[in-house]
């Protein structure tokens, strides 16, 4: 209303077009709120990078340390090889992806192509609850149920007597259940909703004409899914897998609670391993700011940061190459 009245009186209009009135205050405020995220990323990169290079700059370790397999912070000449942690993160993540990807893509295909409405309206809320379960709860669940289950059942005579599976589980055998496999299993459940929902979106994005065209040629639904929909949705599925990978590699507490945290190179899925995140979680509180040991932990966090930024770039590359359908 005020505006309309103002328009009747040219004098007020003139005041409004003055230089000060032309500054769009709301726009500046909302812009600053959005741009604060750029500031956060820049600060995050600066601080973590600065702390992360102290191991090389201040403590005089060579950058090659990152790939050395020896981690012994309590020795007379402490060794801070990060390879066990990087390798541990990679293998635990790879295990989780191997378990979770087929399950998640299958679930996404089910939701998008097979499920009647009622089934979709049951499964989708269930997945949202899955996402919401905090990571410590997953860790605690893994610790109290999965770890004992692995050490009791999978070392038992029944499993060991199985043809191939028995070989795998009896070679070094589970000592305690804290293991690479336990870590991968816990992570696979945690990343399931991520991979499923992103894959689901990319199945939905496939044009309906491709489905009807394929079915009109007389193919079955499964043939259409396998030969038309999965190839068409592949960039989206790859994005989903990379996002799941990022989440798995960055997960700290749940993994720390079930993998046993042994700073050696991963040997078998039944043995304890360690990861970048779990070692940071364990040692950060027990070290003093500025000592080489803590500097090595900051270097680990820099490695994690670089991995996660790389995954963002990777996702962008995958999606840039997506063919217009």
């Amino acid at each position: 209303m005020a505006r309309l009245i103002a328009a009747d009186r040219p004098s007020t209009l003139k005041v409004e077009t003055g230089r000060l009135a032309r500054i769009d205050v709301p726009m500046i405020v909302v812009f600053m709120a959005a741009a604060s995220m750029i500031a956060i990323v820049v600060l995050l990169l600066l601080f973590i990078s600065w702390q992360g290079i102290q191991l090389f700059v201040k403590d005089g370790y060579s950058p090659g340390t990152i790939l050395s397999p020896t981690w012994d912070p309590l020795a007379n000449t402490p060794a801070f090889g990060l390879l066990p942690f990087i390798a541990g993160t990679l293998v635990v993540t790879a295990g989780a992806l191997l378990i979770s990807t087929p399950l998640s893509v299958g679930l996404a295909a089910f939701l998008s192509e097979v499920a009647p409405n009622w089934a979709r309206s049951v499964v989708q809320p269930a997945l949202e609850i899955f996402v919401g379960i905090p990571s410590v709860v997953w860790g605690w669940l893994g610790l109290t149920t999965l770890v004992p289950f692995l050490s009791d059942t999978f070392s038992g005579p029944l499993v060991v007597s199985l043809p191939v599976v028995g070989k795998v589980f009896s070679m070094p055998g589970f000592l305690t259940g804290f293991s690479w496999l336990a870590g991968s299993l816990v992570l696979s459940v945690m990343i399931l909703p991520t991979i499923t929902s992103v894959s689901y979106d990319s199945f939905r994005a496939v044009p309906q004409e491709l489905r009807t065209g394929s079915l009109a040629l007389g193919t079955t639904r499964w043939q259409t899914i396998r030969h038309i929909l999965i190839p068409a949705a592949l960039p989206g599925i790859l994005t989903a897998v990379v996002l799941g990978m990022t989440r798995a590699a960055g997960e700290a507490l749940a993994v720390q609670m079930v993998i046993g945290n042994s700073p050696t190179l991963p040997a078998a899925i039944t043995q304890p391993v360690t990861t970048l995140t779990s070692q940071i979680t364990l040692d950060m509180g027990n070290t003093v700011f500025g000592e080489p040991w803590q500097d090595a932990l900051w270097t680990m966090s820099l490695v994690l940061l670089v991995l996660s930024i790389a995954s963002v770039v990777l996702v962008r590359l995958i999606n840039k190459r997506r063919m217009p359908l």
């Binding site: 709120a33 973590i48 079955t220 639904r221 507490l253």
Partner: protein, 320 residues
């Protein structure tokens, strides 16, 4: 493709395809059933584990060395941290969402800024929570010399969840039909008046859903808080104590008031981790099971709440 087109081979191939289709359908249904079963088992597991542990006395009681006691101080901290974080994250996230939905250009020099913001949004979302926690440690605890404080934890949680809040707000605002904006502008309203009086009210259901979803994530987060809000909670909070509201960051008094943002605060999730890593106490398992059950209960409440509130608000706003 082989050249064998005899009716018998065609029939064989067709029937094989049909069998494969049936099998795949069964497997896909099985996948969904497996996931539902898994979730059901997990919820049932915690319901059984919490049976006989979680009661009003457990949620609202103080911890005890000799009996099971309660988790009230850490439960209070979870609620407190949630409120403090949302107080910062909701306004900033919604304002950022307004920029991205209403002002952001996709081309020209400002288009570059827009894509930088989007890249930052994705980058923060993909940074591991433990690294965000370390960033909080170096910034708030060390550089600002706050020590371990609820405020530092809330800021760390805010910057971790800002991308989510901004994106959900942007989606909610973009869902408002373009006609509404044009009608408002045609009546002579300014851009900001249009946003303030037309777009925002219409986006309320989506915004509320976004707030609740973000809240759910904030409530369960632990790794961010481990090195920012720290581990340190007294066994009893005196709510009549209002010490600790001065702005003196350099003396060590502020721990006493449960209302003060300048004290360390262990939340429920951090408490579960702490119970496990310290491994002390006769009631460790019951306490952790009970706390986990409370967290899962809250997740269910947040999820159902987001749905119910969204539905009710949509009905109210569209009926009016």
């Amino acid at each position: 493709m082989t050249a064998n087109h005899s009716p018998a081979s065609l029939h064989r191939r067709t029937s094989r395809a049909i069998v494969a289709d049936r099998a795949a359908t069964i497997v896909l249904w099985g996948t969904a059933a497996f996931v539902l079963l898994l979730l059901g088992t997990i919820i049932l597991h915690f319901a059984l584990a919490a049976w006989g542990v979680v009661s009003l006395g457990f949620i609202f009681g103080d911890p005890s060395d000799t009996a099971l006691g309660g988790v009230f101080p850490v439960f209070w901290n979870s609620i407190y941290m949630l409120a403090l974080t949302m107080l910062i994250a909701v306004p900033v996230g919604i304002l950022g969402g307004i920029y991205m939905s209403e002002y952001a250009r996709e081309t020209g020099p400002l288009g570059l800024v827009t894509s930088a913001i989007r890249f930052a949004e994705e980058a923060i979302s993909s940074v591991p929570s433990i690294v965000v926690g370390l960033f909080g440690l170096i910034l708030f605890v060390d550089t600002f010399r706050w020590g371990f404080t609820a405020l530092g934890g809330a800021f760390a949680l805010t910057l971790f969840n800002l991308p989510l809040m901004t994106r959900l707000s942007e989606q909610a605002l973009r869902a408002v039909p373009q006609d509404e904006r044009q009608a408002s502008l045609a009546l002579g309203a300014t851009k900001w008046q249009t946003i303030r009086h037309v777009v925002l009210p219409l986006a309320i259901p989506g915004l509320v859903t976004g707030v609740i979803l973000t809240a759910g994530r904030v409530f369960g987060e632990a790794a961010v808080l481990l090195f920012t809000a720290g581990i340190g909670t007294p066994v009893h909070y005196d709510f009549a104590n209002f010490n600790g509201f001065g702005l003196d960051f350099n003396s060590g008094w502020w721990h006493t008031s449960p209302w003060s943002p300048l004290r360390p605060a262990t939340t429920l999730s951090v408490y579960i981790w702490k119970l496990n890593s310290e491994g002390l106490g006769a009631f460790k398992n019951q306490l952790a099971d009970g706390s986990a059950a409370i967290l899962i209960g809250m997740v269910l409440i947040f999820n159902l709440g987001a749905r119910a509130v969204g539905r009710v608000l949509t009905r109210k706003l569209t009926a009016a």
